[in-house]
């Protein structure tokens, strides 16, 4: 001990020295930790705060509420109804398998549906809502609520879904909605941004065209979630906006009548305001109930619709292409008059057939019409007269007039993806597309609306409207704009165009004008001499109201409803000589070989306002199958006129 004193001092010195060095090191390390804390908590606080919020907050988007469609009288034609749904959030369920088996028995679910739900569950994240059923009946809903204490995790909820109260009436105009497909997401950025499981988007028709207006915005629920994604509490809720309401020009009353008239038939009826271009009714038959598509259509229903030979999925009014038949005779006559090919006094002897270019061309009347002038030819729809007249006119000059009145062109710009333009042939068209020269005989059959010429029913309605308003261009529309031009202004513009000469047929200038004034509607005149238009209109009147007219039987004598029209009977098949001899009744011919029945008209004759086109597929003759339908529709439309005008005036006042 004593001898170790010196050594002991050294020992203590060593340890004291070393602990001092160590303390310095400790100080440095603690300073380092302090600096680190400063960096994280002071310098980079913002960054980590953001990361922390990103950790803890998760958004759930709610499906947006879709905008509604209204008819002209503010009736809802595509709305939203409350539906009972059953949701399950898998992560909140203790025993998912048990729950599903209980639900399967209670609802009940078919094996097929059950498998589908399980498959869907495996595809999505555990915190995402799994929709077990989108549309519970009241029965199922109350049953689920009754057993709810045993079904922990199942959530019966009240949701909003599309509904079409008028079922098949508006199917083709509006289209329908269904679950957004992958294609919908790819093609529309807006849908992609707003997509939530179960979102319905427009598949066809206006529902598709106006998707971006209708879709609305998502409501957002912001939840605080834990590390496992479980919702702890709602932090805030942001209400979504309902999509825009779109008001149409359609009249449900007329639309319903059209649907009734075309029941059990294939065909189309459209009605148009000849000044404003507003479409009052537009129906294609057969139709189907678009509500079927909302929750996934059943295989049986889908097969019924798809396999129906009358093609309910096609909107015949704008996508059905047919030979217009005699309904284009007013245009052929107008074209001949405008080009000074004939005068109204030009006469032709009709013997029932006509030999030309080594072929026989038949008039629909086997016995022939005798000697007819232009007026008589329109009244009785004499084919022989029109053969001769078109021969002199030539197809190219006819095409100019026909195109100007809308034949072979789309009626709407881009409103419907499915709309077809049709075709009005010309010599250059045939050369370019078929690689063959025009045969003169083809001019003849084009003159009676057969051959290559193909139009949609709505094109004929527009053609009739543009004739009926005195020969001025109009702008067909389905959407009722608040800032629409008044009827007086439209008529004023037309009257202005009547006296300004240079606006006629200057297609290049027109394009330039439209280029500078894209929104401006100019209601250009489509004729050279209005007398010619008036002549044709009078002939159409006589065709319905004179004893020998083709639609005389469907006339209305009351001047309030009196209308003028033109029938059409379009052959779908070349008729052989034997068949011609047999002269069968429509009902005796196989359905697919029967003629298409057409009728175009406008009324009231004294002060025309509306045009109509009726098309009955394989309906037989226009005068028997189509004109009687038109008569009823015209009556209805004119009956509804006053009420419609009230709305129009209110709209104008509201500006």
């Amino acid at each position: 001990m004593f001898s170790g004193d010196d050594s002991n001092v050294r020992k203590f010195n060593t340890i004291n020295r070393r602990v001092f060095i160590l303390s310095l090191a400790k100080g440095i390390v603690f300073t380092g930790i302090l600096a680190r804390l400063f960096t994280l908590q002071i310098s980079e606080n913002k960054k980590y705060l953001t990361l922390s919020d990103k950790n803890r907050l998760r958004e759930w988007r709610l499906p947006p509420v879709r905008g509604e469609f209204k008819d002209y009288f503010d009736k809802t034609i595509a709305g939203n109804i409350e539906v009972y749904q059953l949701h399950v959030i898998p992560e909140q369920v203790e025993n998912f398998k048990y729950l599903m088996i209980r639900l399967k028995n209670i609802l009940p679910l078919s094996n097929n549906e059950f498998a589908k739900i399980i498959k869907k569950k495996n595809q999505q994240k555990p915190w995402e809502t799994l929709i077990i059923s989108e549309n519970l009946t009241w029965d199922q809903f109350s049953k689920v609520n009754f057993y709810l204490h045993e079904l922990s995790g199942a959530k019966p909820v009240l949701s909003v879904a599309r509904s079409y109260p008028f079922k098949e009436n508006y199917t083709h105009v509006l289209g329908y909605v269904a679950q957004a497909s992958e294609n919908d997401l790819l093609n529309n950025e807006n849908i992609k941004n707003k997509h939530v499981p179960g979102l319905r988007v427009g598949k066809t028709g206006l529902e598709k065209s106006f998707e971006n207006d209708l879709i609305g915005t998502n409501g957002v629920q912001r939840y605080e979630v834990n590390a496992f994604g479980k919702r702890i509490k709602q932090v805030n809720f942001q209400k979504g906006n309902k999509g825009k309401e779109i008001k149409l020009t359609l009249d449900t009353e007329v639309q319903k009548l059209c649907n009734d008239l075309l029941a059990n038939k294939a065909g189309s009826i459209s009605v148009m305001d000849i000044y404003s271009g507003e479409i009052i009714a537009m129906h294609s038959s057969p139709s189907f109930d678009p509500n079927l598509f909302l929750y996934g259509i059943s295989y049986k229903d889908w097969d019924d619709i798809r396999d129906n030979p009358d093609k309910p999925l096609i909107n015949k009014t704008i996508s059905g292409l047919y030979s217009p038949g005699s309904t284009i005779k007013p245009i052929v006559a107008l074209s001949a008059l405008e080009n000074n090919v004939i005068s109204p006094n030009f006469k032709v002897r009709c013997t029932g057939k006509m030999e030309m270019y080594g072929q026989t061309y038949h008039c629909w009347k086997k016995k022939g019409h005798g000697v007819v002038d232009l007026r008589g030819a329109i009244i009785q729809s004499c084919d022989t007269y029109f053969y001769e007249m078109s021969r002199r006119l030539g197809v190219d000059r006819l095409k100019v007039t026909a195109s100007r009145f809308g034949l072979g062109n789309k009626v709407f710009d881009n409103l419907y993806k499915e709309e077809k333009g049709g075709l009005f042939p010309s010599t250059s068209w045939k050369k370019a597309n078929l690689g063959q020269g025009w045969v003169l005989g083809e001019t003849l059959i084009t003159g009676i609306g057969q051959g290559y010429v193909q139009t949609t029913p709505l094109q004929l309605c527009l053609m009739t409207a543009q004739l009926a308003n005195g020969g001025f261009k109009i702008y067909p529309t389905l959407v009722s704009n608040k800032n629409q031009e008044s009827l007086e202004k439209i008529k004023y513009k037309m009257a202005q165009n009547l006296i300004t000469e240079e606006k006629y047929d200057s297609s290049i200038i027109r394009t330039a004008e439209e280029f500078f004034n894209p929104g401006e509607k100019d209601y250009k005149k489509l004729f050279r001499n209005q007398e010619n238009v008036k002549f044709v209109l009078e002939a159409m009147f006589a065709s319905t109201n004179q004893w020998n007219g083709t639609s005389y039987k469907s006339r209305i004598e009351d001047p309030k409803y009196q209308f003028a029209g033109k029938t059409g009977t379009a052959q779908v098949k070349k008729i052989t000589e034997e068949q011609r001899e047999l002269d069968l009744e429509t009902s005796q011919i196989p359905y697919d070989d029967r003629d298409h029945a057409w009728f175009v008209a406008f009324g009231p004759y004294k002060n025309p306002r509306y045009s109509i086109s009726v098309f009955v597929e394989h309906g037989g003759s226009g005068s028997k199958a189509a004109a009687p339908l038109a008569k009823q529709v015209i009556k209805k439309v004119i009956d509804r006129h006053e009420e419609r005008e009230k709305i129009r005036r209110r709209n104008l006042v509201n500006i």
Binding site: F12, N16, F38, N45, N226
Partner: protein, 374 residues
């Protein structure tokens, strides 16, 4: 000399009480309070299992520490080897019949407590070395025999702990053991040599590591490598601390913790939770509290006239420093994640027991600082 030693043995109860280090007791109490508040927060603001059992442990072991403080330092001196051997025995027991939890066989069942002997070894190794070098001549410290013997004392428990496996604790035992060896005067060049050997053997060590340990080291260098896997803990811990900001999110408002983004928030990551809720201010306060604690322990060591007391206090103070520094550096992303609790703050009975035993020896050193042990 004789007088002094007899004098100190005649200390009355009140004399002993008077020479208690109240700064030390106060800072321990404050740390205990903070740890219980934090534990309360990890339980989501309710008095649940963790909080209750942590509180009970703290109170029981703190009182125990006060009682043990009255023991003469000689007692610790004379039982030092026994203490070491008993703990080593427990380690062997643990490796044979221990309780396994989360893949590691660390605990022995003592019926009233599940003891983690590796935690006790942290203190035992220091006591053992303090005793070993107490009588050693400074010229003799670096002798071949001493080096071999002290290395054996150090390596035996480390091997046992590594094999549990518990890398974190074994590193901490090794670190505190080495610091004591250095303080005892072991020639500096042995440290340089062994550091070189360590560096060279590093690749071999790596190849012996378990895959999850390798992952931890890799993810330390690049936490974004696998943000939901091994790097998850580091990332979430940094987010928690960073988002705490200057003043913190507030008591019971630590979203990272109560939404369960934080891993092991009761134990190794308790500082993260505290830092998230109390911010830079709170963290600095806690750091200062630890600094005071360590300072007091070193201070007591420096007034001790016995080499045993002095070496123990210096060693134990440095060990506390290492635990704190390693734990904090780890949760702040400065070191790879290894299991290392924060003394007093972290949940865990054995760690608390070991700390309190160490503190009672420190306290005893304070009371008997004038006493010289032969």
């Amino acid at each position: 000399m004789f007088q002094q030693s007899s004098y100190s043995e005649q200390l009355t109860f009140f004399q002993k009480l008077k020479s208690f280090d109240f700064v030390l007791i106060f800072s321990v109490l404050l740390l205990g309070l903070i740890s219980n508040i934090s534990m309360f927060s990890t339980d989501g603001g309710e008095l649940l299992y963790h909080t209750k059992s942590h509180l009970i442990r703290f109170v029981v072991f703190f009182v125990m520490m006060l009682f043990l403080s009255f023991l003469n330092l000689r007692f610790w001196h004379s039982t030092a080897y026994l203490f070491y051997v008993i703990v080593l025995g427990f380690l062997v027991w643990a490796s044979l019949y221990g309780i396994t939890a989360s893949g590691s066989q660390r605990w022995v069942n003592l019926y009233f407590i599940n003891l983690q002997p590796s935690e006790l070894m942290k203190v035992a190794i220091i006591v053992c070395f303090a005793r070993y070098f107490h009588r050693e001549q400074i010229t003799n410290v670096s002798s071949f025999k001493n080096i071999i013997l002290s290395l054996a004392i150090l390596v035996m428990p480390i091997v046992l702990v590594v094999s549990q496996p518990d890398l974190g604790t074994s590193i901490l035992i090794a670190a505190s053991g080495l610091i004591v060896l250095w303080l005892a005067g072991l020639n500096i060049r042995y440290f340089v040599y062994s550091a070189l050997v360590l560096l060279v053997s590093f690749p071999f060590v790596i190849s012996f590591l378990k895959p999850y340990q390798k992952l931890r080291i890799l993810s330390f260098f690049n936490p974004d490598r696998d943000p939901l896997g091994a790097g998850y803990q580091i990332i979430q811990s940094k987010i928690a601390v960073g988002s705490g900001g200057f003043a913190g999110k507030g008591f019971l408002q630590g979203t990272q913790s109560y939404l369960e983004f934080l891993p092991e928030k009761h134990t190794d990551f308790i500082f993260t939770l505290f830092s998230e809720e109390h911010g830079f201010i709170g963290s600095v306060f806690l750091l200062i509290l630890y600094a005071i604690l360590i300072y007091r322990i070193i201070k007591i060591g420096s007034i001790s006239r016995s080499y045993f007391g002095r070496l123990f206090c210096f060693g134990f103070g440095s060990a506390i420093f290492i635990y704190v520094a390693v734990n904090m550096s780890m949760v702040l992303g400065l070191l790879p994640i290894v299991g290392s609790p924060l003394p007093i703050m972290s949940y865990g009975g054995s760690s608390m027991l070991a700390t309190m035993i160490g503190l009672s020896i420190v306290m005893s050193t304070k009371i008997y600082h004038k006493q010289i042990i032969n």
